[in-house]
Symmetry: D2
Subunit: 305 residues, 4 copies
Amino acid sequence: MENQEKLDKIVIPELDAVLGKKFKVLDDGFVRVVDYMGGDESIVQAARVSYGKGTKKVSEDRGLIRYLLRNHHTTPFEMCEIKLHVRVPMDAWRQWIRHRTANVNEYSTRYSIAIDASQKTGIDEWRIQAQDNKQGSEGFFGNEEGSKLSQRESELQNFAREIYQERLAVGVAREQARKDLPLSTYTEAYWKIDLHNLLHFLVLRMDQHAQFEIRSYANVIGNEIVNRWCPIAWEAFKDYIMNSKSFTGLELQLLKLIIQGNKDEIVKAAESFGWLKRTEKGLSRNRERIEFEDKLEFLGLNKPW
Amino acid sequence: MENQEKLDKIVIPELDAVLGKKFKVLDDGFVRVVDYMGGDESIVQAARVSYGKGTKKVSEDRGLIRYLLRNHHTTPFEMCEIKLHVRVPMDAWRQWIRHRTANVNEYSTRYSIAIDASQKTGIDEWRIQAQDNKQGSEGFFGNEEGSKLSQRESELQNFAREIYQERLAVGVAREQARKDLPLSTYTEAYWKIDLHNLLHFLVLRMDQHAQFEIRSYANVIGNEIVNRWCPIAWEAFKDYIMNSKSFTGLELQLLKLIIQGNKDEIVKAAESFGWLKRTEKGLSRNRERIEFEDKLEFLGLNKPW
Amino acid sequence: MENQEKLDKIVIPELDAVLGKKFKVLDDGFVRVVDYMGGDESIVQAARVSYGKGTKKVSEDRGLIRYLLRNHHTTPFEMCEIKLHVRVPMDAWRQWIRHRTANVNEYSTRYSIAIDASQKTGIDEWRIQAQDNKQGSEGFFGNEEGSKLSQRESELQNFAREIYQERLAVGVAREQARKDLPLSTYTEAYWKIDLHNLLHFLVLRMDQHAQFEIRSYANVIGNEIVNRWCPIAWEAFKDYIMNSKSFTGLELQLLKLIIQGNKDEIVKAAESFGWLKRTEKGLSRNRERIEFEDKLEFLGLNKPW
Amino acid sequence: MENQEKLDKIVIPELDAVLGKKFKVLDDGFVRVVDYMGGDESIVQAARVSYGKGTKKVSEDRGLIRYLLRNHHTTPFEMCEIKLHVRVPMDAWRQWIRHRTANVNEYSTRYSIAIDASQKTGIDEWRIQAQDNKQGSEGFFGNEEGSKLSQRESELQNFAREIYQERLAVGVAREQARKDLPLSTYTEAYWKIDLHNLLHFLVLRMDQHAQFEIRSYANVIGNEIVNRWCPIAWEAFKDYIMNSKSFTGLELQLLKLIIQGNKDEIVKAAESFGWLKRTEKGLSRNRERIEFEDKLEFLGLNKPW
């Protein structure tokens, strides 16, 4: 435990250099750092509370941070706090706000007139519904279709703004006038969160299954901000969380058998899991088996069935 | 502490009688109870954990619940849990979801097609912007103006739905097609919360300053559901929280002086608070003084200045 | 909303001046500030997010902070964060840790040898069990009794430490050796919390009903630390929360009648509340009535019954 | 989304059968179920909110629950709630209470006399400090040493109780008299938590690195209670969480090379990670390398260095 009577605030020059700077996201959004507390050094400082006076500094800071993150000792990461100012379409904000562990002050369209900006989709940005993933997209529309879609989008956004202005002009209460604003309308907020919960936000929202819009914000927060703020924790996060893969108990059983080359046992085990049901067209679709096959492919191993 | 080996689940017949029943709210919304755990009896049961075996049952249950609520002993109220299924316009849901202490599963417009219903405003339901409260409304528009507003609302909602359908028809990903849906679009969710946090939600959202739409939901939850579920806690909540008034330290100083009839001292004190600044037109606007004047009026006392 | 591209970290020189300084509490405890983020200025900054570009600065900062606190607009206060290093007897820490909204890193007696200090009670510090409040104390023992109690306390603490040392000496696992340490043993922790939740902690723990030990810590945190960190919020907190009194719906009914001087109605109303039940010895004990009588006395009003 | 107007409370006969039954833990502790809400069926019910009316029931319940748990869709698991009554030594309770997402009502030793029971250690239950893990134990003391330790434990516990009784006898306030009770003193509490957070508690506390005492409670809660309450979720939890292993980004790189049999590249990569530093005595200790070697051994693979 630190015992000196005088402490200095932890300052991160790399982050100070971009304090207030707007990192652009989407067509008209941004993220910027308003303030922060702590950094890599405070993770170590907090972890060392556990060791007491008599403990010598056995490991260097980097090793300790990596150890903590790898082993899910999450509380020291809660000792770092950051406050962002974000500008986001309400549609993405609806997902964002579901993370309950942050502090939030949002721009009020009850008190003030709504921000006069809606997220616009470029003609090459319209995404095609994925066939095998009900909540995903795959590929983009061509320019002809995209151009029509963007034109219609523009008509709707203009009409919605026109109606909003009409309502305000005749004196409808702002809290009611806003009721039909499109979800693409931008909102702004101060969003404050600790590093542990921010990393949890990032692992979910930088994931390839996250929707493109919120993923764009998450990428900026991770790569431009956390990377400057806590570079050691950020590196560990990528090594141990982002780039890690988890194998379930069932998968581990099979992986062991595959490594032993015991083909009969493998198939028997997979059958006992219900993974190898067949129709006339071959193996029937089984999500767990497909997930495992993807991991085998990643490891450079062939499917054993 | 209860010591018998056998316990029965607490059952509230009054609430069971309306389990699953949709209480209508707004033009197309509802609230219904999906499940619950505990009731008035479990508040008492939890509070009694503190007393141990040797304590005799000094107070009856009602007195105990009232005592706990009046004195901010909030943890026993956390021992009751309720799960609601709600259908709400996204605009009101944006406010609702800011209460971070609940569990939520919301209808996904990424996975499924958005609910085909938007909150519609009747011709006599258009509210006028309040002059003295930037985030409030006062009074309603007449039928002529209301009729025009409702007509335009309908045009916008129809156009927004048309564009949404167009996008789906050509194969735009659902997660992107939804981006310009109006905030008036209904969403649905399962919302689970404990009684303490629910009462906190209600005190804020049944308040006259809460927006009409969310207030309508809060009133139904309070009067139709909590009232049946935990009638003793609900009565105490009305007596001690809803119908209570708090006097600040400054207000108490003045109130004492008013009761003593010490006019000079009253004015002197109020001046020292900065409440009695004057312009040519009389006392200048001071929010704290006005709040206090309202409380005096409520008590049947005249302004002393 | 602030729009400049450059921001500076908010710095509070009054708090910087005591960063790391140990404020002594009890015989061997302390509280010190390790780091902080924000101050009065960030409360205002966050609140102003709501107003948007077009809003002129209607009220000065002090007025705004006071307005926010008085009206339970709590989210801007969550934008300030502080990290304390505390040394506390485990008995008080057991109460402290019940506040769930903080981040905590505590000294580990699993990993390290327990801190070799127990809270000792001075001979004039032994408190007598309150008669009318089962969880309170009133007055102190004289020196003779106190001296005996302190002597016995010392015997027990020494014996407990002896046993602990014996266990460590023969090689018992630290995680098990600690099992019989007295609750008076000091622990240390880093404790990080936002200003809104800290004020909630303080209102409960600076209260006269809070136990002396934790109250001593709360007083230091409030008067020595928050007072320096956010002096405007602290003043508002005292005016509006600490020194305020709340009147229940029932109390307000009676207070109105008392002010009108309507004696018959007063008694009738109080009877209808069940407050005036009598035994042969006079009015029977009723907690709600007694609480109200205390408030009347505070206001300089006589009991009307 | 379910649309019928009538719902029935979800009832789990297997859990009802043990409602109130005390499952013994340690020498004098227990866990028992007081109440619960929901079960496997409510996980499915909540997940299906996302799909809307038009979606056919593609997967059976078991498949859906397993899919949700495997893919970290955690919110449907929050829709189940359970309330336990536990009796635990304060030492273990200190760890338990660190889980902040539960609701708690604990027995008050301020209000009542402390429970007259301390956790006693059998002569064959004294654990030896682990050498390579500062916060663990390995093996047990023999009967001779154990017998001495148990004897001394008993002396200390008796003396502590004697002092406590002395204090109460002369009238010391209960809130102060308790200050030197040993951490082994039992406390009781009602503890209420949702299934998602309970599983998180269990994954940490059933882990082999968790301390024996709290692990004993976690095992009972998992195997005796969750197993009866939500058997499908419990099975999935074991398959996907308890028995899973995660490979970091670095480990995956090496594992691929090992599977390809590319020995040179393996060593080169491990060196670039800093895992193969040597002293005269061989490879120097490196926690990441050791963790990876353990996983290789589990898979039946030899160390490649």
